[in-house]
């Protein structure tokens, strides 16, 4: 089976979707001729023409607002916001328009759009190229929020998102674009070509939205993670020697609560890891759900490891990033060690 980077897998998902359905259109800043600053749309304009893949003005609310109008017409736009940090001008269109169009019109109009955006830090991107705003989307009724962690899932989830009848926020952990980065920034990253989840089948397949994946089976503790933190958690587990079960949530909303609850009931302990800031982060929701559903099985407090509640700094990036050292300490504390 061919191995692809996450960038190639995402590109392939759009390529397959555009080939199957001429209602799928792709646009965003630098997305057309150049193929995107991360090259996720490279070659799509040449293959499908300027009506199907084109450059947009630097105007995120305009990109999402026009995509909503296109979706109301009957197209299936898959748009790129160049960095998740740039999505705020589009937040009004996403939260009050895309998210509610089906509901407020009682299905008279619907909004099958996908809004892709690179998320997370670890590339010395500073405050405006590193953010993880997923909780700002999961808090909104009517959106779905997806965070893939590997090329295989990225392709299958993106095709599922494009085919979904409702608006989907597709957050691409940019530090994973070229390999499964585990937080050890001083070591070389294994390329996807050497990782089994870099295997990406040709053609059409989907990974269903709302289904988590167990990346490591274990009995001592449950780690809930998504995106880059899946690999950080794996490194921490290997380095501490704790027999943890690592769940890659893949979709934050709808959430695969059944998989989470079954695991925590089995292990009795839970550590939640995300790169986004701690307070009111998605980990708070996960923590609440775990205690509501697993309280009598818990043998230790639910722990959260997250980005500090500061803006994402530039020089102090690796002090900010919740790396394997911090995660490992939380694992040990939760085990009572």
């Amino acid at each position: 089976m061919p191995r692809r980077t996450m960038i190639e897998a995402i590109r392939d998902a759009m390529d397959v979707s555009m080939g199957r359905d001429d209602k799928v259109v792709v646009f965003g800043e630098d997305v057309g001729f150049f193929g995107g600053v991360f090259r996720c749309t490279q070659g799509l304009q040449a293959k499908y023409g300027k009506s199907r893949c084109f450059d947009a003005p630097i105007n995120e609310s305009g990109i999402v607002g026009s995509a909503i109008g296109m979706a109301a017409y009957g197209l299936k736009p898959c748009v790129e916001i160049q960095f998740a940090d740039y999505m705020y001008p589009a937040y009004d269109q996403l939260t009050q328009e895309a998210a509610r169009l089906r509901y407020r019109s009682n299905g008279d109009f619907t909004c099958p759009i996908v809004v892709r955006m690179p998320t997370g830090g670890g590339i010395f991107g500073g405050q405006t190229h590193s953010q993880s705003p997923e909780a700002l989307f999961t808090h909104v009724s009517g959106l779905k929020t997806v965070v893939p962690s590997n090329p295989h899932d990225a392709k299958g989830l993106l095709i599922a998102a494009i085919e979904d009848p409702d608006p989907v926020i597709f957050l691409e952990p940019k530090r994973l674009y070229n390999g499964p980065f585990d937080g050890h920034h001083d070591r070389p990253v294994t390329p996807w070509s050497k990782h089994e989840l870099g295997e990406v089948a040709d053609g059409h397949y989907t990974v269903p939205l709302g289904k988590a994946a167990i990346r490591r089976a274990g009995s001592g503790l449950t780690v809930l993670a998504y995106g880059t933190m899946v690999y950080v958690a794996q490194a921490a587990v290997e380095e501490t020697g704790i027999d943890a079960e690592i769940i890659d949530l893949r979709t934050l909303l709808p959430l695969d609560l059944d998989t989470i609850v079954a695991s925590v009931k089995k292990t009795g302990r839970c550590v939640i890891v995300h790169e986004a800031t701690l307070t009111s982060g998605f980990g708070a929701e996960l923590s609440a759900l775990v205690q509501e559903n697993c309280f009598y099985h818990l043998e230790a407090p639910v722990a959260r490891v997250a980005g500090w509640d500061t803006p994402y700094p530039h020089a102090q990036e690796w002090d900010y990033f919740p790396g394997p050292g911090r995660v490992g300490r939380a694992l040990l504390e939760t085990m009572g060690a």
């Binding site: 109008g69 009050q96 509610r100 019109s105 008279d108």
Partner: protein, 410 residues
């Protein structure tokens, strides 16, 4: 000589406040028929004056004059008059129903009836409007059932929107009427997106965007003009300048640009101002803009100069911020009276027939109201179910909502 003294902060003020004498002498009103009608493929640079003048067809004596006249038959004009009269009567009854506690909120169109009623007739079936809350004339003029509108206003058991939306936030894809958000200006760029999609699909349908003078200050307005200009989207960009954004006079949004139509000039978009209280002028300019859109000539910006004679909404009291007699002083008159006088002059209408039509329309509206109220009003009779609250957010209800619905006991 340059003034290099202390910097002074400038806040525009309307000419007159409550207690003063209304004065529109600063609003120049060109003579009807005086503004030329260019070809639809005109170079926008050659018609910059159209963004500062006012296209008018009906003159003071009720004649239709000039190059924009002559597009509509007597029967079409009689139908237009009936649409406007129906909308005004509908508004009066629903305003009263709100005062009687049958719904929470209402927004009327008093004085602005010509804009949406005439515009609708310039579109073709399948075209899509992205309206604000003050374009119900689009629905009335397209034959959308008044009972359905009232069911929505009452949020009753027959409300097509299941009680989820504020009164007057209608939605009808079938009638080319995009779901009204209640947010301001968001729909403007969506209309451009819809038009882009139609062009991408090599379709023949066009879109119409709607916005008020106040909301042109929103960034979505700017976004829409950028996208419409860049992609030459087949869209008519409508600005309804009714002089007032709740209590804020139009100068706060307009700033120093002279007119709202002039906003389009920097984008290379042909931009016209039209007498919004002149049914014939509105229709003629809308037709011109729609033809441009359908002929791959791209967007047109149209500013309708009108006056909001009523309150902003049922929650508003205009006497607190403008003279009570200001609407009487408005120099462009009343759209219904003006079309009525024109039809009388054509010999196809009379005061007697007008009075009779008013009575017939009132009967029709009251009958629709009775039927709607048989399905309930906001606080009495049939209403959408609690279960409806949970339905229809997603195509398929996700597990967390199913759990919450169970918790709610429905």
């Amino acid at each position: 000589m340059a003034d290099a003294g202390m910097l002074r902060f400038h806040v525009p003020e309307p000419e007159v406040r409550p207690g003063g004498t209304p004065d529109f002498s600063n609003v120049p009103i060109p003579k009807a028929g005086s503004v030329p009608r260019p070809d639809i493929d005109v170079d926008p640079r050659t018609i910059r004056d159209h963004a500062f003048s006012i296209i008018r067809v009906l003159n003071r004596t009720g004649e239709a004059v000039g190059p924009w006249a002559g597009l509509l038959s007597s029967d079409e004009l009689l139908a237009g008059l009936r649409h406007m009269m129906t909308l005004r009567t509908f508004d009066a009854r629903m305003q009263m129903a709100q005062r009687q506690g049958k719904t929470s909120f209402y927004m009327q169109h008093l004085g602005e009836e010509a804009v949406a009623c005439a515009f609708r007739k310039a579109l073709a079936p399948g075209d899509m409007n992205f309206p604000t809350y003050r374009q119900a004339g689009l629905l009335i003029a397209d034959g959308y059932p008044m009972v359905t509108m009232m069911n929505q206003i009452y949020s009753n058991e027959a409300d097509p929107l299941k009680g989820r939306q504020l009164p007057v936030m209608y939605s009808s894809k079938e009638h080319g009427f995009f779901s009204i958000s209640g947010n301001l200006a968001t729909q403007y760029i969506q209309a451009v997106g819809w038009a882009m999609a139609s062009a991408i699909s090599n379709d023949s349908r066009i879109a119409a965007a709607w916005i008020g003078d106040g909301s042109t200050a929103e960034s979505d307005f700017h976004s829409a003009l950028v996208f419409a200009s860049t992609y030459k989207a087949p869209v008519v960009l409508n600005v309804v300048n009714n002089q007032w954004a709740i209590s804020t006079f139009q100068g706060i949004a307009r700033g120093g640009s002279g007119t709202f139509a002039a906003r389009g000039l920097g984008f290379g978009i042909p931009s016209l101002r039209v007498d919004g209280n002149d049914y014939l002028a509105v229709h003629a300019v809308a037709k011109w803009a729609a033809e441009r859109a359908r002929s791959n000539l791209g967007p047109t910006l149209v500013e309708y100069v009108t006056y909001r004679a009523g309150a902003h909404s049922s929650s508003d009291d205009p006497s607190a911020y403008r003279p009570k007699t200001e609407s009487d002083a408005w120099p462009l008159g009343d759209p219904i009276v003006r079309l009525k006088n024109h039809l009388i002059q054509l010999g196809v209408w009379s005061d007697e027939r007008h009075t009779q039509a008013e009575a017939e329309i009132l009967d029709t509206v009251i009958a629709a109201q009775k039927e709607a109220e048989s399905h309930g009003t906001l606080h009495a009779g049939g209403k959408p179910s609690t279960r409806d609250m949970f339905e229809g957010l997603y195509a398929e209800m996700p597990p967390h909502l199913r759990r919450q619905r169970q918790q709610a006991g429905v």
